[in-house]
Amino acid sequence: MSVYWRYLESERLSALLYALALLACGYVMVVIFPSIAKIQVAQEYFDAMPPVVKAFIGQEIMDITTLEGFLTVEYFNTTWLLIMGVFSCLFAGALVAEETERRTLEIVLSTPVTRTRFVASKVAGFLTLLVLLALASFLGLSLGMAQIGERLEARLMVYAFLTGTVCVATIGSIALWFSCLFNGQRRAVGVAIVVFLSLYMFNVVAVLLEQYPILGYLSLMHYYDASTIITQQAIDWPDLAILLGVFSVMVGASIVTFRRKEIYV
């Protein structure tokens, strides 16, 4: 049993609960869609929303009376992203800090496992969980669509989940850095959640304050927009590359930080 398998084993129950929640969430979102689409005032209601709210949910460019518009606005850009973002902060923030805090690290690091391998194995385990959660989400949407007899092209869902998973993995890589930096799990997770929500708000504020586009570029969520993927029916490769670049830099920074860290609690 390696560090990778040990991590998956230790998180299997909580990850399973999360996966079931995401499956149920996706399913419910789809099965309530027909009811929403029948309400003629729904679109008017959304149209009448203040720009800040529309910017927040990404509703400005999508028609929410269509399944793809509804899922983009209500699911991919908001509900799913927030749930997965918080998951990333909670789990990636604990990857190293939990072991430091609980003092399990010392015996593990007295074996020939290098600190680089330790972090890399944990990251691999975390990414595995993200993929499983994305699959559970995909399954939830698919079951819902089978239930209501409507469908969104599977290819588009894969594009949205792929880019979204890279986005939340990048959020996780920032949480990982805090996990390597701090000795306490709560501190690492807490700071990561604050950073995640701040980045989310940066993106919203950047839409509203056109004179400050830099805020949008600073936000990771700027590089994941399901509405662009769905309307253009393609992955935005430059945005994906930026997310992967930030992910790589943050994982590298985490490894360097952990290698230099002095371990005493």
């Binding site: 049993m1 390696s2 560090v3 040990r6 230790s10 609980r102 003092r103 399990t104 010392e106 015996i107 593990v108 690091l109 007295s110 074996t111 020939p112 496992v113 290098t114 002095e262 371990i263 005493y264």
Partner: protein
């Protein structure tokens, strides 16, 4: 040399951890590392294991640098930390298998013997273990792969005397196989039983390194005398007398020199009872710290 440090120094910001520690531990030796809490024992061990980095000086294990060659070093050692956590959701068997796999050794040669010797139920989850059972499990994982060097930080704390005895016997058996043991402890009776040499730390500095036989020679002697009358203890205050305790007619003296002078004084007074013997090693050790 298995362990060698030169001028090893560690400061935590402005506060001192250890300063100018020079140590040499030979192969096949059980080396005791003594000192009260805060004296720098754990700091030294953490530098040896590359958990923290020295401010200055050098530390080498098996001739390899403790920082740059730490992975190669750790493949040849076992370690029991002074304080540690274990994964509560695992059984002891799963935990040992996990650590064995990290060492690339799925069937460590001494695991089954140690599990039997220390009476660890490996089918139980670690969360159900008492402190003492966790300590036994920590000892099993440190020795199970028969490493060349085992670093033990307070290894028998929380163990009952019978298990302590078994651990001491196993340490001596490991030594007989040419293994080196670096043992940090404040239990002097344990040090006396198993160590060949001891280093004594005080406030981050190494104040003495002695063979255990030398330490025993330096050991104070005790004289307990019951007189037939009350005497003023000041009459025993002379060179060589380190400590005096008086309880009614009974006086207890700790003496580090020839006791003939003391006996000459004692013989001037009517004595009801007298006994003479070696002081505990603890008292000798404490004497170092009072200087």
């Amino acid at each position: 040399m298995v362990i060698q440090t030169e001028k090893l120094t560690k400061f935590y910001g402005a506060s001192r951890g250890i300063q100018d520690i020079d140590l040499s531990v030979c192969q096949g030796e059980v080396f005791g590392f003594l000192g009260p809490n805060g004296s720098g024992k754990t700091t030294t061990i953490r530098i040896l294991l590359d958990f923290i980095r020295a401010t200055s000086g050098s530390a080498r294990i098996f001739g390899l640098d403790a920082h740059t060659d730490t992975t190669r070093i750790r493949s040849r050692i076992g370690y029991v930390p002074g304080e540690y956590g274990m994964y509560p959701d695992l059984t002891a068997a799963q935990y040992l298998r996990f650590l064995g796999s990290l060492r690339g050794d799925k069937d460590p040669p001494l695991q089954h013997r140690l599990v039997g010797l220390l009476d660890v139920d490996t089918s139980r989850r670690i969360k159900s273990f008492s402190h003492g059972t966790k300590q036994k499990l920590a000892l099993v994982q440190a020795f199970m792969h028969d490493p060349e060097l085992v670093i033990l930080d307070e290894p028998t704390s929380g163990l009952d005397p019978l298990v302590q005895q078994r651990v001491h016997e196993f340490i001596l058996e490991s030594k007989a196989r040419g293994r080196t043991i670096f043992l940090s402890s404040h239990i002097l009776s344990e040090v006396e039983k198993v160590c060949d040499r001891v280093a004594i730390l005080k406030e981050g500095r190494l104040i003495a390194v002695h063979g255990i036989a030398d330490l025993k020679r330096l050991r104070l002697k005790t004289i307990e005398v019951t007189f037939e009358q009350d005497l003023d203890e000041s009459i025993f205050q002379m060179e060589g007398v380190r400590k005096i305790e008086q309880d009614g007619h009974t006086v207890r003296l700790w003496v580090d020199a020839n006791i003939n002078g003391i006996l000459r004084i004692l013989s001037q007074y009517p004595i009801d009872r007298i006994s003479c013997g070696d002081a505990r090693l603890e008292d000798t050790f404490l004497e170092y710290y009072s200087q």
